[in-house]
Structure formats: structure tokens, C-alpha cells
């Protein structure tokens, strides 16, 4: 009889240890895409602007790791992250854009005003690709390895201190 009375305390101690351990772990505040570690779904997007080609999932299978940036000309944080994308490009990153529910004229104007870090931009009018790769908002940036597998997801605008991490993730994906 006596030992059973200690049971609740033991269960509680177990929980306490677990919770304390979790609290000390660095924590993502965001839900990661379930697609991490999986291949890109098949898609083909038309060009979002006249100057650059559109995007297809086949473009990612040529052995070179890339950044896939989900953005839109109507999105304010995308303006804020434009300099960081520029910096990433200067350090050798190949950045593929997917413009969400956007208009070619607006896209061209945005690129003219805030710089163009992209090698290709696809036009995703129905958010199909966005939803397909598990992104829930703009901007978001994915690291895709040379076989077309998603290896990392960055949610929200890229801040200056995120740039080294993204370059590191890109290097990892290239290995």
C-alpha cells in the first residue's frame, strides 16, 4: 500500500526532469515544414517577370544547392530582407524566387527598386507551390540540395545575423 502513495511524486519528478531539459534546449518558435528531408513536389511555374525564366522542380536536380525564396512584391518584410538576399548572392548563393499572387509589372518594379538577387522567378498565383512545400507565409526561404531535397527552412524575413547560418546550411547541402 505504502509505495503506491509515492507513485504520483515519481511521475511528477519524471515530468519535471523532462520539462527542465526541454527548457534548456534552444527552441524554434515556429512550426517547421514537415517537408524537411523530402523531395520538392513536382511543379512548373511560368516566369513572373519578362527578364528572368520561370521555375520548375527539375531545375533543382542538377547537383547544385540553392536557396528557394518565397516572396511577393506586396509584402513589406520582403523589402526588409532584400539587402540580405543581395548579400547572400554576392557570397555565391544561387537564389530562386517564387512570387506569390503577384503581377509582372509589380514584380519588375520591386526588382528595379530593391535589387534583383534572383536567377529565376516563378509565378505562383494560387500559392500551390508555397503550400506544397509547407510554407505558411511570405517571406520564407528554403535550402534545397543538389538532388532537389529540402534541407532547411527559414521562416520570416532574413535578418543580417541569419546570413552566415543560411550560407552554412547551403554549404552543408552541397556536401
Amino acid at each position: 500500500m505504502g509505495w503506491r502513495m509515492w507513485l504520483p511524486l515519481m511521475v511528477f519528478a519524471l515530468f519535471l526532469g523532462l520539462a527542465a531539459y526541454q527548457l534548456t534546449q534552444p527552441k524554434d518558435e515556429f512550426v517547421e515544414s514537415r517537408m524537411i528531408g523530402q523531395s520538392l513536389p513536382y511543379f512548373e511555374l511560368p516566369a513572373a517577370t519578362e527578364d528572368l525564366p520561370g521555375v520548375s522542380s527539375k531545375d533543382f536536380a542538377d547537383g547544385k544547392p540553392r536557396l528557394l525564396n518565397i516572396w511577393a512584391s506586396w509584402c513589406l518584410p520582403c523589402i526588409a530582407e532584400a539587402p540580405q538576399l543581395e548579400a547572400l548572392k554576392e557570397q555565391g548563393a544561387d537564389i530562386v524566387g517564387v512570387a506569390i499572387r503577384d503581377d509582372p509589372a509589380d514584380v519588375a518594379e520591386f526588382l528595379a527598386r530593391h535589387g534583383n538577387p534572383y536567377s529565376r522567378i516563378g509565378r505562383d498565383d494560387l500559392s500551390e507551390v508555397q503550400l506544397g512545400i509547407g510554407s505558411s507565409g511570405v517571406p520564407e526561404t528554403f535550402v534545397i540540395d543538389g538532388k532537389g531535397t529540402i534541407t532547411y527552412q527559414h521562416i520570416g524575413d532574413i535578418r543580417a545575423d541569419d546570413v552566415p547560418l543560411l550560407l552554412e546550411k547551403l554549404r552543408e547541402a552541397g556536401r
Partner: protein, 650 residues
């Protein structure tokens, strides 16, 4: 000035909580209450007053929008309507913690002022425990979440004009749950006091009962309201998502439900002593656990709370001290508390014990599902536990519980035989079988919802069976409370099962002028208009919805785009009839100029929340009945005492 006074009042209140702890502990050790030891009661009362003053000070700085106070500058705006300025006072972490300690201190003051039934020693131990718990929360508030902090320079204008929080429902939802949690903290203090003095008596149960009932009513209302807001705000058409934050409010409710039944057994039959104590500890543990899960951010949730690991650590430390301490005390003392009166399996107590075990099992199921991701993440595996686990596994225990809920109130206390109530049993069985056949023939569908419907119909009838053969005029109000609450469960269950069995969903792409049908409704898309709000633009679909060919009612759901931060939300529209709701959500434009619409027809879905309100009403009736009874008992005792005193003088 007012802010400084409020801050000072909080420190004083904290000091008084310490005095209450020391005084109560001394009284407990020395066995008599004089000197410092006699101060626990007055300290508790004064502490309640000071905490109340601090809260009014916070309300005041919010009412006048004193922008030199950091909390006001961060969470209010001079142009807000007064009601939302006031609700802004607790619509943030610091303010809500102040509300928590205020309610806790007021509750402590109230028991110190009015509770005279318990042996003085137990009372002192209870007050000491209450002071100890309050002290932790004062420390949390004053050291890591000071609501009265000043800015070095007053702000020019407040930041907060968050439109989402300007909703009267959201303004009242958190305080409602807090009242529930705090009520359970009082029950916890009573349980600790009783363990310390090894005095677990029917009087103890009667002292604890109104607090448990009150807490339970507030939790019921809080969960019911929270579920409704999730239903219409999120635009996903669901009313319960088994989200950690929702579970955090459900778990204390389950424990409180079990506790309020076992406290009744203890009060009227002096049985289930250890079990009641255990539930008293568990119920408050669940409240604190919920607060920890919500505030620390260890679990991912759809509810975006400002999470802060440092505060999380603080709450975890409080959890370790209070819950760990209480469970240790339980382990040391429980064997020396005798179980109390015995009873037969076929008795009112037997049924209550059975359902207590079922409720505890459901609680364990929910707790396990909620904490499981925490466990697996320690091994770097990310999982999310959802309805496929929670629904069937909790149903395993819910179904027998519902059956016993129908039978239990018909049984007599101490010992009874099922043969005596064989007619009622036959009726109950017949209702379940007939209900199953009826719903299966007419609607078909999955087994679980059908069973739910049949059980709901049975329980709705069975909840009135205890009234048979009784004089309704002389029936105690508390019995009415039980009948109404059990009937409310049946109503809510009917709504849940009907929603799950009969809902129809339609995802349509319409051109302007076209229409779509969902269930008995025909919805015509009349036009699509852009509309603009203060910080958003939206596409508004203007539609005409007609029920079974009747006259069209205009509805206008929106798809909103907020600018900063860029976020798309849906403003769904609900059309309510007595027999269900039409739920419409506006989607995006497709390539070909058609518009995506999501429509649901949910028969009897509103019963879920009507049921919840009935359950709460039942709780209110029970409180009225019990308090009345207690007052009567008290006046009889007083008269008895006076008479005895008279006899002695004679």
C-alpha cells in the same frame, strides 16, 4: 504616483503573505494562535485588500493611459474605447499575472474572514499553505513581471491597438479561466491543510466544496467560450483541435469534475478521504501545468502567446516547489489517513467512484497526448498528436462513464441493488439501442458519432429520472443543479456527435451570379467587393443564402490581408438557425475569374455551447443550494450552542 502606490501595495501584500505563512506555521506547531501565530487570518484579509488595491491602481493607469508606465505604453493607446483600455490591463502577461494574484489574495482573504467550520489548526495550516502559494506568485510578479515598471521617458503614444484583442469575448476569456484556476488553488490549500493536520472530515469537504464548484463553473464557461471563439475566429470549421493550450484548460476541468464529485461523497458519506485529497492536489497541479505549457513555449501551439523561456523556468520552479511538495506530503501522510466509510459496489458512491476513475483515465489520456511531443523531442523526434489519438482513446473511457452517469443518480447511498431500479435500467438500455438503430437507419455514418447521438438521447432522458417520485417543490436546489448539469452534458454531446456525423462541406469555385448548395442551403455569390480596414484590405464576397428555397439572407465573409506583419486571415460568417449553422469562408480568386468558397452546414452544432452553458448553470445552482444548506446548518449549530450554554447556566 498611482503606479508607485500600486507597486508598494504589491510588496506589502507579499510581506503579508509571508506573515500569513509564518503565522500559520507557528500556530500549527504550537497548537494555539496567539502572538505572531494569531496573525494568519488578519494577514490574509489585509493581503486581499492590498492586492485588490494594486489591481485597481493598474486599472487606473490604463484608464487614464499613463504612458510613462511601460505596460501601458506597450499595450494600450489613447484612442481606444474605455472598455478596451481597461481590458488591456490584463490582456498581457504582467497584467494577467497581477489579476491572478489579486483573485488569489481575495479568495484567501475571504476564507480567512468567513470559514469557521474547520478545526482552528486545519484552518491555520490551510492559510499557511495559501500564503506559501501566493508568495511564489508575488515573487514571480515582482521579480520578473513587474506591471508597474516606468519608462525612463514617457512614450508619446501607446503601441497597442491590436484589433484582434479588441473583442469583448477575448477580454473576458482569460479572467474566466483564471478564476477557475485560482478557485482550485484554494482547494489545493485546503487539501494541504488537511494533510498537515491529518484531519480529513466531512466538514473539510463542505468547506472546500463551494470553491471547487465555483472553479468548475468558471472553467466550464471558459472552455465553452474558448471553443466557440476558436470555431468562428480560426475559420477552419472545427470547434476543438486538441491543441496544447486547449488541453491545458481541459485537464484542470476534468480533474475538477472528478474532485467535485468525490468531495460530495466525502461531505455526505465521509468516504473517499485519500482520493479527494489526491484530486485536490492534482486539480491545481493541472492548472499550473497548463500555465507552464502556455507561457513557457515548450510546446508548439496555434495560440500565439508571447513565450519566454526565462519565465517558463520560473513557473517550472514554482511547479516543482508546490506540486512536488504537496505530492511528497501526500506520499508521507496518505497511508496514515484512513479511507473512511465503506460502501457496496452497487451504490451511489460506487457509481461516483467508477466515474471518478473514468475521468482520471481521460485526464491521463489527454495529459499523455499533450506531453508526448515533449517526451519524443528529448530524443529529437518531432511528432504531433492529434484527433486520431485523442478521439477514440478518450471515447473508450467516455462511453462507460456516460452509461454510469445515467445510472448512478438513481442508486441509493451506501448499498443498493440493481434489481430495484431494473425498470429504469431497461429504459436506459432501450433508449441507447433504439437511438442507435434510428440514427443508423436514417443517417448512417461512422460508429462513434452514432453511438454519441444515441448516448446523448439516452442521457438527456436519464438525467431527469432522479426527479421521479419526488416532490419537485421541496427538492433541494443542489439536486436541480445535478439534473441541469447532466442534461447539459447530454445536450453538448448531442451537438458534438451531430456535428461530426451530419456536417456537410462544400468547396466550390463560383463565378459571380452562380450558386452552390450545401445541405439544405443554397448560396449565391452576388458580387465580390474590395474593402479596406485600418490596417488591412480584404476581398468581401457578398452572398445570398437561402434555407430550403426560402428567402435569401445576405452574408459577407471576407478574406483579409494585413500589412504589418503580412498575414492573411479569414473572417468567416455564421448563419444560425435553431437546428444548426451555415459557416461560410471566402477564399482566393482562381485563374479563370472564379472565386473559391468554403461552405459548411453543421446541424445542431450550437448545442455544443448551449450544453456547456447548461452545465455551468447546473454548477451555479449547486453552489446556491450548498451555500444555503451550509448557512442553515450554521444557524442550527449556533442555536444549539446557545441552547447548551443556557442549559449550563441553568
Amino acid at each position: 504616483m498611482i503606479a508607485e502606490l500600486g507597486h508598494a501595495a504589491l510588496w506589502l501584500a507579499a510581506a503579508l503573505a509571508l506573515l500569513q505563512l509564518v503565522g500559520g506555521a507557528l500556530a500549527l506547531r504550537e497548537g494555539e494562535a496567539d502572538g505572531i501565530a494569531g496573525l494568519a487570518r488578519p494577514a490574509a484579509i489585509l493581503q486581499g485588500g492590498l492586492a485588490g488595491f494594486a489591481f485597481f491602481a493598474l486599472l487606473y493607469v490604463f484608464a487614464v493611459t499613463d504612458l510613462s508606465v511601460k505596460l501601458v505604453a506597450a499595450n494600450s493607446h489613447s484612442l481606444k474605447p474605455l472598455i478596451f483600455k481597461l481590458s488591456g490591463a490584463w490582456g498581457n502577461h504582467e497584467g494577467s499575472m497581477l489579476l491572478w494574484v489579486t483573485v488569489m489574495a481575495l479568495a484567501g482573504g475571504l476564507i480567512a474572514a468567513v470559514e469557521r467550520r474547520l478545526p482552528e489548526k486545519t484552518m491555520q495550516a490551510t492559510l499557511a499553505a495559501q500564503g506559501f502559494v501566493a508568495l511564489g506568485f508575488y515573487a514571480f510578479l515582482l521579480l520578473s513581471s513587474n506591471p508597474f515598471e516606468r519608462l525612463p521617458e514617457p512614450a508619446m503614444e501607446g503601441l497597442g491597438l491590436n484589433p484582434l484583442l479588441q473583442d469583448i469575448g477575448l477580454a473576458l476569456h482569460p479572467p474566466t479561466l483564471y478564476f477557475g484556476y485560482v478557485g482550485l488553488s484554494v482547494a489545493f490549500s485546503f487539501a494541504v491543510g488537511a494533510m498537515l493536520t491529518r484531519s480529513v472530515t466531512p466538514d473539510f469537504a463542505r468547506a472546500m466544496r463551494p470553491w471547487v464548484l465555483g472553479a468548475w463553473v468558471f472553467l466550464t464557461l471558459g472552455i465553452t467560450a474558448g471553443s466557440y471563439w476558436a470555431y468562428y475566429e480560426l475559420g477552419w470549421g472545427g470547434w476543438w483541435f486538441w491543441d496544447p493550450v486547449e488541453n491545458a484548460s481541459l485537464m484542470p476541468w476534468l480533474a475538477a469534475t472528478a474532485l467535485l464529485h468525490s468531495v460530495s461523497v466525502l461531505a455526505s458519506r465521509d468516504a473517499l478521504r485519500v482520493w479527494t485529497i489526491m484530486l485536490g492536489v492534482v486539480a491545481f497541479s493541472m492548472s499550473m501545468l497548463g500555465t507552464f505549457l502556455v507561457r513557457s513555449g515548450v510546446l508548439t501551439s496555434v495560440h500565439a502567446f508571447a513565450v519566454d523561456p526565462e519565465r517558463g523556468s520560473f513557473i517550472l520552479a514554482l511547479l516543482a516547489v508546490y506540486i512536488g511538495g504537496a505530492l511528497l506530503l501526500f506520499a508521507l501522510r496518505a497511508s496514515s489517513i484512513s479511507e473512511g466509510e465503506r460502501f457496496a459496489v452497487a451504490s451511489r458512491e460506487g457509481a461516483l467512484v467508477f466515474n471518478n476513475v473514468m475521468l482520471s483515465a481521460i485526464l491521463a489520456v489527454v495529459l499523455l497526448g499533450t506531453l508526448y511531443p515533449l517526451l519524443t523531442e528529448a530524443f529529437d523526434v518531432r511528432v504531433s498528436v492529434g484527433p486520431p489519438y485523442f478521439n477514440p482513446v478518450s471515447a473508450i473511457f467516455t462511453i462507460p462513464m456516460l452509461l454510469v452517469m445515467a445510472v448512478g443518480p438513481l442508486l441509493r447511498w451506501r448499498g443498493d441493488s440493481f434489481a430495484r431500479i431494473s425498470k429504469e435500467l431497461a429504459l436506459i438500455a432501450a433508449l441507447v439501442i433504439a437511438g442507435l438503430i434510428f440514427f443508423a437507419l436514417f443517417e448512417g455514418g461512422a460508429l462513434l458519432p452514432l453511438l454519441g447521438l444515441a448516448l446523448a438521447v439516452m442521457l438527456a432522458v436519464a438525467s431527469f429520472l432522479p426527479l421521479r417520485g419526488r416532490n419537485l417543490k421541496r427538492l433541494p436546489i443542489a439536486v436541480w443543479g445535478m439534473v441541469v448539469a447532466h442534461f447539459g452534458i447530454a445536450v453538448a454531446l448531442f451537438g458534438m456527435a451531430s456535428e461530426s456525423a451530419f456536417s456537410t462541406e462544400r468547396l466550390a469555385a463560383l463565378e459571380v451570379g452562380q450558386s452552390a448548395t450545401v445541405g439544405p442551403w443554397e448560396v449565391e455569390l452576388a458580387s465580390v467587393q474590395p474593402v479596406a480596414g485600418p490596417n488591412w484590405t480584404a476581398i468581401e464576397g457578398r452572398m445570398l443564402a437561402s434555407y430550403k428555397g426560402g428567402e435569401g439572407q445576405p452574408i459577407a465573409p471576407q478574406s483579409r490581408n494585413f500589412w504589418a506583419p503580412a498575414q492573411q486571415t479569414t473572417e468567416s460568417v455564421l448563419l444560425t438557425r435553431w437546428n444548426g449553422q451555415l459557416y461560410a469562408v471566402m477564399g482566393n480568386e482562381a485563374n479563370d475569374g472564379r472565386w473559391q468558397l468554403r461552405l459548411w452546414w453543421k446541424p445542431f452544432v450550437t448545442f455544443i455551447w448551449y450544453g456547456g452553458m447548461l452545465v455551468a448553470l447546473g454548477g451555479v445552482l449547486a453552489i446556491i443550494g450548498r451555500v444555503q444548506q451550509d448557512l442553515k446548518r450554521r444557524s442550527i449549530r449556533r442555536k444549539g450552542a446557545v441552547r447548551r450554554a443556557d442549559m449550563e447556566t441553568v
